[in-house]
Amino acid sequence: MPAPLVEFLQFLFSGITSGAIYALVALGFALIYNASHVINFAQGEFVMLGGMVTWALLSQGIDLPLAIAGAVALTMVVGLALEKLAIEPARNADVVTLIIITIGAGIFLRGLTSVTLGKDLHALPSFSGDEPLSLLGATIMPQSLWILGVTAGIVVLLHGFFNYTLLGKAILATSHNRLAARLVGINVSFVLLLSFGLSALLGAVAGILIAPITATHFEVGIMLGLKGFAAAILGGLGNGVGAIVGGLLLGLIESLGAGYISSDYKDAMAFVVILGVLFFMPSGLFGRRGTERV
């Protein structure tokens, strides 16, 4: 295959890989936004906790699969606690107040992690080795395949949950019309709790999947959270399909931009996307046609 094409493929692979991670983070934003209209700025901390807690458990001699399960479970507990202890008691406050609470919670979680787990950078081992695979002349790391596979699996599960289960539909109903949802007997506090638990799960999984590639640190959540947010608004906040497309697009913009323009601006792309969306299409690619399926 001609060299420029191979190079392009290489950028493509790396773009989809990080794009899948952004998509998971963006889905987390979408879930909570739909249930409560709150933008959860502690979403990045779920990502950070996934990676950091997995590392901490591994360093205690626990096997990788068990460490992953433990980290996901603990992050979900943190997500549920955040809803129960900080959001639920303030549920009559306006949305801006709730958003500020999530920013505070994010700062608290970063501080707590740096105190208990330290401020060092840690790499997780790749799930199935570091032997690059060759695909159409370009190379792809096995960890990238894990990322794509797990993300695809999660998307399929979420799709099934929201389209084929009554509980999933109850969540959609709540996000569309809270009053009517309460009148048919949906416990909207439970829906909110569930959305925080699910978002924490998505965040933790993203953080664990990416940690073998980019390493983890008590502050990784800041940038990953921001990029997930950029992906979410690019796709249209609260739109599930939009979150996935937005994530993949942002990943591609980043990697193609870094490859063909300059890698100095890689992290700046997310900001450019946020500003561009806010200026030129505030409702994102998939707009707000009412509340869409997640």
Binding site: A173, L179, G185, G290, E292
Partner: protein, 233 residues
């Protein structure tokens, strides 16, 4: 069946209900009439538990439910067809109906779904379509059916005929009478006071947050004050 004592409710500092007393017996069809802003919707929302009560009590079959969560009231059989229909627009007609039965599980839900479809064939025809694409009248039928899916023992209807063509209004009132014959207890809020009091066993007149009159439906229709204020006679 339902007993309301000295109920008050506020929106911030604005008082919307100023001590409402009202009772509904099992099997009765009770109408509530009153001008715009009298507090009718607020009262129904308090009964369903989606509007904070600031004073007084609500008893359902002797049990104090003043502070009960909305979902436990639905489980007790208190269901509401809200003002303005409030269907779940992006969800399909069928999903709207299934969500009406959210508090009930089991295969009897499928039988109920069929009964709704038999009664309103247009809903069956459009069952896969987003509820938001239905016409106003069809959405009102859907909102009523959604509430019926919960097997209400007390059904609260908030202006079900609002904004509908006369033919559809007739159909709504026929449905209400049919439900009464089948034994459902009904509390009907209506702007169309003439039609509502005409089919009601008893009626209440609400003015600025308080009950000012209550009598049988027929007597209220003859009442001079009601005639002047609500029947335009």
């Amino acid at each position: 069946m339902l007993e309301i004592q000295g109920l008050t409710s506020h929106y911030g500092r604005i008082q919307a209900l100023e001590g409402v007393d009202l009772t509904i017996a099992e099997g009765e069809l009770v109408a509530l009439v009153g001008a715009n802003g009298a507090g009718k919707t607020t009262l129904l929302r308090c009964i369903s538990g989606v509007q904070p009560v600031t004073g007084g009590r609500i008893l359902f079959e002797g049990r104090d439910i003043t502070r009960a969560a909305p979902q436990s009231r639905v489980a007790l059989g208190i269901c509401q067809v809200p003002e303005g229909r409030q269907v779940f627009g992006p969800l399909s007609v069928e999903d709207n109906l299934k969500l009406g039965a959210f508090r009930r599980r089991g295969k009897r839900v499928a039988d109920d779904l069929e009964r709704m479809y038999t009664r309103f064939p247009v809903l069956k025809e459009k069952r896969k379509q987003p509820a938001g694409t239905l016409s106003g009248g069809q959405q009102q039928m859907l909102a009523i059916c959604r509430a019926l899916m919960a097997h209400p023992r007390l059904l609260l209807l908030d202006e079900p005929s609002m904004g509908l063509a006369p033919l559809l209004v007739g159909e709504i009132f026929n449905t209400v009478e049919l439900l009464k014959e089948q034994g459902t207890t009904l509390f009907l809020v209506e702007q169309n006071a003439y039609a509502a009091l005409g089919i009601a066993d008893r009626g209440y007149v609400l003015e600025t947050g308080g009950v000012v009159l209550s009598d049988t439906g027929a007597a209220l229709l003859e009442n001079a004050r009601v005639k002047e204020a609500y029947l335009g006679l």
